[in-house]
């Protein structure tokens, strides 16, 4: 099939021997594929930790009052669940793991522009993760402020807030370096003939994401520094007792953290735009519209941050302006969803595991998106602000959106990354568990929130008991599904059959190199003549 795959000198990146040996051959490797794989492992480990904490939260909510932990522990557990899932799983998630692995291959390059910076970025990620977790065990006690670190409580509490903030600062640095690297790589290392509008849509998504990482992250960096300074020296900037304005903290925090939700979701949308053409054997509908919608989501993302603050006490004009702009984001998001569905129309759909995850994503993300309209609307937001409705909403978009696509990407590129195949039947089985568990757990939370159950409360009124119980059961079903999924992949990795070079009939460049790829990716840098999905139009692949 491919000359290099048969050639006797074929050595995959997994077997490649560099100047370091043993574990150092990985930890000191500047190869983008090894770094991507290390990120992936880190993300899965942190996800498992975060999911365990989430399951503990749900176990606590099985009954009113104390079930397994006291209120202070509950505060610490939901804070750590948030910090791990946001900063260590879904922000680096797709870009750092799959972006690192596939961005250079998909644009026909041998590596990213700054391989050593890439390794540094990974190390900062690990250091930040370890610091965040160690704040649990060090003196001062686990942080209890929620992942958003709102002042003035974050200034007043005696828990280890400074350490956790420092960890977040380091993780921000890691994110900035990845973004900087990707922007430069896309500008400099595209294969000959690959213009911007001949790039795969995943690359467009990563490029837009990288820009948000570069431009937005420093704002939260300075916010974090200010809170640490406030705790150390009492500079007064965020301390209302000294004349500071806590609402300004919220502004600065969300100036980053709102664009950050697009750091989380844009790469996922990019993966969807890859998987759908592959499994429907159709050229993507509206290539340019999808590419531009990635950029415009990244841009409009800066206009909407204060919709997280409708009840904070900011001015009415600001509330109206931010509510209006919030609805604008629906336009590029809608463009994407309609184009995906239009691509499937009359396609020969092959419902393999990655495609099923994508279908699940479209359902869950649409529910999340539509309930987002309730929250973006000023009048209705007042009623459900700070309730389980919000919690359900962002789990539908972040978990149902980003993490489901993380799983989709894992199943889509698994054969390419490891050269092995997993058991598709068991994967589908796991997927059904996850889908049922997910909706049982979070849809009931929409109802609970609508009925007035506040988020982050350790206790609840008796009338919420039934729904809380159902929701917790859903969580356990979902955890079961996740465990099946992971064991299936591990089994595939160790005992699975050898994967072909192109098991799905994909057309982007990563499917033209052997599985797993060699250390240099390409024996000969390809020359690009057509757009990435052009080949389906010609009907060359049936």
């Amino acid at each position: 099939m491919n000359k290099s795959a048969d050639a006797s000198n074929y050595v995959s990146y997994l077997d490649y021997k560099g100047k370091h040996t043993g574990i150092w051959a990985w930890l000191l490797s500047t190869d983008h594929k090894r770094i991507g794989l290390m990120y992936l492992m880190g993300i899965i480990v942190f996800f498992t930790a975060g999911m365990t904490l989430g399951a503990l939260l749900k176990t606590e909510m099985l009954t009113a009052g104390r079930t397994i932990m006291d209120p202070q522990t509950y505060n610490a557990v939901f804070t750590l669940h948030g910090i791990i899932m946001i900063f260590l799983v879904i922000i680096p998630g797709i870009p750092a793991a799959f972006g690192n692995f596939f961005l250079p291959i998909m644009i026909g390059a041998k590596d990213v522009s700054f391989p050593r910076l890439n390794l540094l970025s990974f190390w900062l990620y690990i250091i930040g993760g370890v610091l965040a977790l160690s704040s649990l065990f060090l003196q001062g006690g686990p942080i209890d402020v929620g992942w958003s670190f709102y002042v003035p409580y974050a200034i007043r509490t005696n828990s280890n807030v400074s350490l956790a903030l420092f960890a977040a600062f380091i993780l921000g640095f890691s994110s900035i370096l990845t973004g900087l690297n990707f922007v430069t790589t896309v500008h400099r290392l595209r294969a000959p003939g690959m213009t911007f509008f001949k790039m795969p849509l995943f690359i467009w998504a990563l490029y837009s994401t990288a820009w948000i990482q570069v431009i937005a992250t420093p704002v939260v960096g300075i916010t974090i520094v200010l809170v640490i300074l406030e705790r150390m020296f009492g500079i007064g900037i965020f301390d209302p007792a000294l004349g500071g304005d806590p609402i300004l903290f919220q502004h600065l925090f969300w100036i980053y953290s709102h664009p950050a939700v697009y750091i989380m979701i844009l790469p996922a949308m990019g993966v969807v735009s890859e998987i759908i053409p592959t499994f429907t054997k159709r050229e993507i509908f509206g290539y340019k519209a999808i590419a531009y919608s990635s950029l415009s989501i990244a841009f409009i993302g800066y206009f909407v941050w204060a919709h997280h603050m409708f009840t904070s006490g900011m001015s009415d004009i600001a509330r109206a302006v931010f509510s209006l702009f919030t609805f604008l984001v629906a336009i590029p998001s809608g463009v994407k969803v309609f184009n995906w569905v239009a691509t499937m129309y009359k396609g020969s759909i092959d419902a393999k595991v990655p495609f099923l995850f994508v279908a699940m994503f479209i359902v869950l993300f649409s529910i999340g998106g539509l309930t987002g309209l309730v929250l973006g609307n000023l009048a209705t937001d007042i009623h459900v602000h700070g309730t389980y409705f919000v919690v359900a909403h962002f789990h539908y978009v972040m978990f149902g959106g980003t993490v489901m696509i993380l799983f989709a990407a894992l199943h889509y590129w698994f054969p390419k990354m490891f050269g092995k195949m997993y058991n598709e039947k068991i994967a589908k089985f796991a997927l059904v568990f996850i889908f049922i568990g997910f909706n049982t757990m979070y849809f009931t939370m929409f109802i609970l929130g609508y009925q007035g159950m506040p988020r982050r409360y350790w206790d609840y009124l008796p009338e919420f008991h039934n729904l809380q119980f159902i929701s917790a059961i859903g969580a356990f079903i979902m955890v079961t599904g996740f465990l099946i999924l992971i064991f299936n992949l591990l089994h595939g990795l160790l005992k699975g059959p050898k994967a072909e070079q192109n098991p799905w009939g994909g057309v982007t460049l990563e499917w033209t190199v052997p599985s797993p790829p060699t250390i240099e990716n390409f024996d000969e840098i390809p020359v690009i003549e057509h757009g990435p999905y052009h080949i389906y139009k010609e009907g060359q692949i049936k």
Binding site: K110, F114, L180, T184, V219, V225, L242, G243, L252, I525
Partner: protein, 223 residues
């Protein structure tokens, strides 16, 4: 020393030859343009880092404009102006040193860099005396004297120490970078054909200057 320079030259020649055979050398191929692009992106992150502080400054200056006026009277416009001129001049010597190196005048280039470092040190010494004077008057975050004042004045000094402090930190980092550049020019790893590290350090230094151009009127000139 000379053998070192020779080695550099051969490497450069090799790279130029290999650039035409593109495919096998891409991963070792030197891409100065990419380095500069990476540096610019990094500078933009610095810009937004200070940008967050400028947003806060705008909000508090609007809220406490009267207190800001009163508090700013304590700052010495003369020292501020002197420091502005020092930084502008250090930017000039940085820019000139790159041209000197491009023209092959290695010693002139190194001397200009030393004067940049010297001016930066001068700036920091002034800053040190300025801060010491404030501390001596009991004007520092958390001091009993400051806490008696109006809230707007507390915020003014909070912003002043944070912004000039963060800027001062950048001056120190810039000085360290320039010292590395001096060392590398001497050892020959930065030379008339290969000076992207020097250019990038220069960009960083100009950014430090650029931030000060805004800090100066915002804190010193609001009487």
């Amino acid at each position: 020393m000379s053998s070192n320079a020779e080695l550099e030259l051969t490497q450069n020649e090799m790279q130029e030859v290999e650039a035409s055979h593109h495919e096998h050398t891409e991963h070792v191929h030197r891409d100065d343009f990419a380095s500069k692009m990476g540096m610019w992106l990094f500078l933009l992150t610095e810009l937004l880092l200070f940008g967050g502080l400028f947003i806060l400054y705008m909000a508090y200056r609007f809220q406490y404009s009267h207190d800001f006026h009163i508090a700013a009277k304590e700052l010495n416009v003369g020292v501020g102006t002197l420091n502005t001129i020092i930084l502008l001049t250090s930017s000039l010597s940085m820019a000139l040193s790159i041209i000197a190196l491009q023209k092959g005048k290695k010693n002139l280039s190194i001397n200009l860099l030393w004067s940049t470092v010297g001016l930066a040190g001068f700036f920091m010494v002034n800053k040190f005396f300025e801060w010491s004077a404030k501390f001596a008057h009991g004007l520092y975050p958390g001091s009993a004297h400051l806490l008696e004042k109006e809230k707007g004045e507390i915020i003014f000094y909070g912003m002043y120490f944070t912004m000039t402090g963060l800027h001062g930190l950048h001056v120190l980092i810039g000085m360290a970078l320039i010292l590395v550049v001096i060392y590398r020019i001497k050892s020959g790893t930065i030379n008339a054909d290969k000076y992207i590290v020097m250019e990038n350090s220069g960009l960083y230094w100009h950014l430090v200057d650029l931030i000060w151009i805004f800090l100066f009127p915002l804190f010193y000139l609001i009487h």
